[in-house]
Amino acid sequence: MIAEIGHFALALALCVALVQASVPLSGAARGNGALMALARPAAQAQFVLVLIAFLALMYAFASSDFSVFVVAENSHSTMPLVYKLAGVWGNHEGSMVLWVLILTLFGAGVATFGGNLPPTLQARVLSVQAMIGAGFFAFILFTSDPLARVLPPPADGRGLNPLLQDPGLASHPPMLYLGYVGFSMAFSFAVAALIEGRVDAAWARWVRPWTLAAWCALTLGIAMGSWWAYYTLGWGGFWFWDPVENASFMPWLAGTALLHSAIVVEKRDALKSWTILLAILTFSLSLIGTFLVRSGVLTSVHAFATDPRRGVFILLLLVVAIGGSLLLYALRAPALQPSGLFAPVSREAALVLNNLLLASAAATVLIGTLYPLFLDAIGGPKISVGAPYFNLTFTPLMAPLLLAVVVGPFLTWKRADLLGALQRLWVAALAALAAALITLYLHSGGPLLAVLGMGLAAWLVVGAFVELAERIKLLRAPWRESWQRARNLPRANYGMAFAHAGLGFTLAGIIAMTAWKVELIQVMHPGETVPLAGLSVRLDRVEPHMGPNFEGRRAAFTVSRDGRFVAAVFPEKRNFPVAGQDTTETAIHTLGIADIYAVLGDSDGKGGWTVRLYYNPLAPFIWFGAVVMVFGGLISLSDRRYRVGAPARRRLPAGVATAPGD
């Protein structure tokens, strides 16, 4: 019964979406306030309906209702409740419901909190959002029904893949979707602006909070996915350039570029056409990612079960949504007011450089991911494009960007003094040099690139806070004045500092892990001790260990330095009888500046056990940096300027000639 209610709610949501997609749009075209006003309650209703469906599905999983097909395929009565719930999105059908839940959440958000938007814009934005929704509701109802019944119901389910029975992985999809489905809002704003024929500073102000919120979620989602891979896959890898990882990374790169180009639109009324295109492309990358993961077109460890019929449907959605919006762009964008000028050295130029490099990086990742497919489709040889390619091409694109990140905020608008800016950064340069020298001292045999990279990381972190120090005139004015300035500094400034600093931390972690990871693979017997990067690791014992739906073995290691106890770690190997699968539970102890990482392997039959021990320098910095980035984003988001209404549109006095497109 509950499942049927949920099912009906989805069907209703499709109807509401169809209405919302058409009526407010025609109302905006005719200036009919009543029709436009339909958008807000419709968007809210859509969200409530999808929430009902989502909760119905969740209830089916929680109560182990095996008459619902996806529950039978993906759940089992002995699973812990938290994984039964996570099972809702651990499969294709359920994850699509999560997808539209986030889509309608953002729609309802704009409907509820977008009171300061002009009615025509709001109506159009919500209409476009509903068009996307309608497409996906149709997809769900006709090809991927999550609440379909299977009769007679099986006695028990097939169980969730043991890999997915993990807290990190259980929570990673909702965060990821909040991010890359959230970019649909920027897309809707962009398309609405094209329909209106106008892009201005006010538009950029309205778009930014929604884009920033999505960006924060996506950053966190990607970081969680990476962290999950790190502690699950057993050798400390955290990024593989797998197509599905790339599918979430490309929108992140484009979204970051979008956040920065929107600043130029807002402050200088420039880069409008490009920003609109970027907003469309960011969500397009999300849609392409959704297609890649579910169509079977690419191989990936992450891919859901594939079905060509679904692939065709999603491709159709892509053609309509992306093709349609790009066509609209081709028709309407030339009419947008062209922008003001800026000098080759200026803040605008720095942001243009930012966009150039980020967009090129996103395009490179896209090309690398799709090249084998493209070559195969035109009848060429079958090749692989893997991690080595991406590492070789992505790094040189990012390096100049990271250098510029610190300098950009010191440049003034329109025309800037580069030398002056660099001089003010002498503290950061000193820090970079110090970091490089310290690295050289600690790792004299180390790769040169890593030494330079650590310098770059220090440049980023220190440079970000030097900018803040400049603004509050730290050490150049009395403390009281600095304090006063610090209190009055807009939150967005703090946000930027933290976000850029976070980038530096993550960079440091990545470099250290790539260059100086210590790995030890060998057979150990209980009582044996091995040296690991200045520590001593002793295998104490290996004993059996049972769980609610698994049986396994657990090893006990004691880690010490110079005789003093540092940590005890307990890696395990588990066997899940229902799924017939083995998993390895790594044991990680973090020392803050490094991780001790232990994995238990197989017995050699003679009392010895294969073990893998790692010393991962600065590994925690990778995810700490991501958290700092998100913290910065959230601080920016809390800036009052977004919440206390963006400025109303500039009204021109009657009779003043307007530029084309106004």
Partner: protein, 156 residues
Amino acid sequence: MMRLLAFQLVVLLALLASPVLAVQPSEMLADPKLEARARSISEELRCLVCQNQSIDESDADLAHDLRVLLRARLLAGDSDAQAIKYIVDRYGQFVLLKPPVEPATYALWLSPLLLVLFGAAGIAVYLRRRRAQLEPAALSAAEEAELKRLIEEGGP
């Protein structure tokens, strides 16, 4: 039926991808330099029965066989390139995770550079055009002379 098959495929593939140890102590070579070479080459060879994993990462049987084979070739005195060629001769270029640089992949390898160059060029052209639009055109020599004449001749 399709769903069932598809699901079985996922379970099977997930099994292959399940995190069990890859390189075993018994596979490792005694000479650390050779072993290091073997590890770094392994990272560039695809495990053909897995989903985008290298033979260094995967625990599939075939990955094990290829790791052992690779080490045997290195012990026999092959250079890195020769050992890789041995495997490519048997499995084709698909096994290389770093695509070779050849006419079919020129577009792939050149694209990052070309993107940045074309982007930068596009921006430069755009700025130049905008500057020409916004700033008044300079006067030609004849027009300058005419203007001067008018100014000198004009007056109260």
